[in-house]
Subunit: 167 residues, 2 copies
DNA sequence: GGGATATACTTGACTACACAACAATCTAGC
DNA sequence: GCTAGATTGTTGTGTAGTCAAGTATATCCC
């Protein structure tokens, strides 16, 4: 075995753990998302991103957010946001609103129907997500996992706080 | 505040951590994947799934795998695998092969060109992934993260071991 | 042997994104 | 005030995936 080969394998060895974490992040995300999406779609006709967008809107002042902020929070491109909101608007779950101070921005606003839809969906959704995690992790493990995942790019520490105000 | 509302919020409180972990998994995955995909696409013209598929093939006996097993490992649907392999086949990176014992299955086989492509891509890819994790986590934290993520559905404990045999 | 059921894969139609190019508006510097 | 550049959003086009339906083969059980 050449020295070059040896050095390659040594330098790679250090990355083993990271690659392992990466692969599991990929597969674990895919598996979880499939399950959660299926439930959300079947029960409420929403995609994960649509749900998350409405949730973000529901927590925003006046139930409205600039599209660019929505894109940031959801890790979507601007065009992705435009198209997702088009879909929600067709179903009258959100609406557009102009910004008085800046004619470039068009707010996305949660409609009453959208707020109702969100309330309707959130209980079963939260229960489903909770169950999926709680059958795999202890409470402290969930905390640890959340903390670690929060350091990933775009997963910003800010938590999406509890909805479902028993409405 | 009604008793009903109180009860709702209590029962929800327990799910807070799980929902938090879920949201961060979503966003963190999206952010990481975008970065990694961009690098892999720009430098080698491969998607993450294509890379992972070729990596799995390279570790399989005879460099071949049934499509259904590939689907399982990659958390893709059968049709997704068919289409991804179509793309790789057009570029001559994989090929089809029949199974002597079962006429239903068509193996995906890594071609020599595919193996070369994988070797070419893996070093920079592994380095990039390693860097992304190591700038955010200590080594033990990476271990913890990998262990926790490994419990998610589809993220099966089996690690994807180190390629890039300095070829 | 022969039909019912299960497994492996492909195809057609659709969806949810991405990227690139664009239009509109705002802001700064002169 | 005016131009240069940055910011916000939309649209055209492409792609990677999904689901539902279909084909082909294998297996099980009478």
């Amino acid at each position: 075995m050449s020295n070059q080969l040896l050095r390659d394998q040594e330098s790679q060895a250090g990355k083993r753990g990271a690659v392992d974490a990466w692969v599991r992040l990929l597969r674990g995300h895919a598996g979880m998302r499939r399950t959660v999406t299926a439930q959300l779609q079947a029960d409420h006709g929403l995609t994960v991103n649509e749900y998350e967008a409405m949730l973000l809107l529901s927590h925003a002042p006046d139930g409205r957010l600039r599209r660019v902020d929505l894109a940031d929070s959801l890790q979507l491109t601007p065009s992705g946001v435009t198209r997702m909101l088009d879909g929600l608007r067709e179903r009258a779950l959100v609406d557009k609103a102009e910004c008085p101070g800046d004619a470039r921005v068009t707010y996305a606003v949660l409609t009453d129907a959208g707020a109702a839809k969100l309330r309707e969906a959130s209980c079963s959704h939260i229960a489903a997500v909770g169950a999926l995690f709680e059958e795999r992790y202890s409470k402290p493990e969930i905390e640890t996992l959340a903390e670690l995942l929060g350091r990933l790019p775009g997963a910003g520490g800010e938590s999406s706080c509890t909805p479902c105000p028993s409405g």
